[in-house]
């Protein structure tokens, strides 16, 4: 397998890439997978329509599906990492059956389990998540390695042009932690309030 290993030293800066993407889809309801993706979302600017996960590994895309079906007039963005999405690969099949027009899954892919010591993940060893999503009948898939592609990606998500998955190749590097609230009840109630639903 060594010959197929990616060194992944020349990907994009994850914080800059996330901020650029998010600025292009200001109406999106955003669910972030646990670990670095949640920190990236928070670092790009906290907002009520962000839902950060601190656990539930593998669940981000399925949360996004339930949310997208419930809120068909809002773009829904699942921002997650390769390790988190690999654990929820079956959810790509489930999403591919439902195909809500307003759901996008964006995988920040460094080919590493960054939170636990940068161990290589499957995506560094020959597995392609865009190819999986395409095989699951997603309407569009993208494999992005350039900053110039992020504004169009944000605009595509904002426009709700079909169910899609984008992989953004990012550098495998440590960045300073930016920690959102880990109070799940508060995050839930804040998110629902932004949509006009009162707390219990």
């Amino acid at each position: 397998m060594a010959g197929r290993e990616l060194t992944n030293q020349d990907g994009l800066d994850r914080r800059l890439a996330s901020a650029k993407l998010l600025s292009g889809c200001p109406d999106a309801l955003v669910v972030a997978g646990l670990g670095s993706a949640s920190y990236d979302l928070f670092a790009a600017g906290d907002r009520s329509a962000n839902f950060y996960l601190w656990g539930a590994m593998g669940g981000a895309a399925a949360i996004g599906l339930g949310l997208a079906l419930a809120q068909p007039r809002r773009p829904v963005l699942v921002l997650t990492g390769d390790g988190e999405q690999l654990m929820g690969m079956g959810a790509l099949a489930t999403i591919g059956v439902q195909r809500p027009l307003n759901l996008a899954v964006v995988v920040l892919d460094n080919g590493r389990f960054a939170e636990t010591g940068m161990q290589r993940s499957h995506t560094a060893l020959g597995v392609s998540l865009p190819a999986v999503a395409a095989a699951c009948s997603f309407a569009w898939t993208l494999d992005i390695g350039e900053m110039d592609a992020l504004a169009p990606l944000g605009a595509r998500i904002q426009a709700m042009q079909g169910c899609g998955l984008a992989r953004i190749r990012i550098r495998a590097e440590e960045v300073p932690r930016a920690l959102p609230s880990r109070d799940g009840v508060w995050l839930k109630n804040r998110f629902r309030s932004a949509l006009g639903f009162p707390p219990m």
């Binding site: 309801l29 669910v31 839902f51 996960l53 601190w54 656990g55 539930a56 590994m57 593998g58 669940g59 981000a60 399925a62 949360i63 996004g64 599906l65 339930g66 949310l67 997208a68 079906l69 419930a70 809120q71 929820g88 079956g90 959810a91 099949a93 489930t94 059956v97 439902q98 799940g184 009840v185 995050l187 839930k188 998110f191 629902r192 949509l195 006009g196 639903f197 219990m200």
Partner: protein, 172 residues
Amino acid sequence: MTEWQDRIFEVLKAGDVRQVAYVPDAGHARLIERVEGAPEMRGIVLTTEEEGVALACGAWLGGERAALLMQSSGVGNCVNMFSLVSNCRFPLLTLVTMRGEWAEFNPWQVPMAKATQAVLESMGFSVYRVTRADDVEETVQAAVDLAFESDQAVAVLLSQRLIGRKSWLAGN
């Protein structure tokens, strides 16, 4: 056999449950058929039950009620995902058809049958068990109310005695 399943469907419909996620089970077959035929509901077939836990939480974030249908073996597939429910105090309604507890032919169903209620309760669920068809409607109604009025995780275990024996061999 189908009658109590139709009553579950009516309770879910009247309770404004819009997303019904499932890994199929023979005991849920009639209910799944009713859901898939209902314009006001969306049936969502899963690859594994934990997706349905996450999906139900996402639905609630977006203001919709969801339900998760599975068999007892599926409860074991969900355990870590239940932490999403308890950490955020999401409402979660799951209807679980029991295997491995009554006149079971397949011993592979037995270990999870023994663990199902304990696993659910250890992860914070209120668990209702139904063994008589006459109790199904009222119990599911109580579960809907407890889940969505009090933001609780609630499981209704539909016993294998209620569901009936699975026929394994021709003429059996």
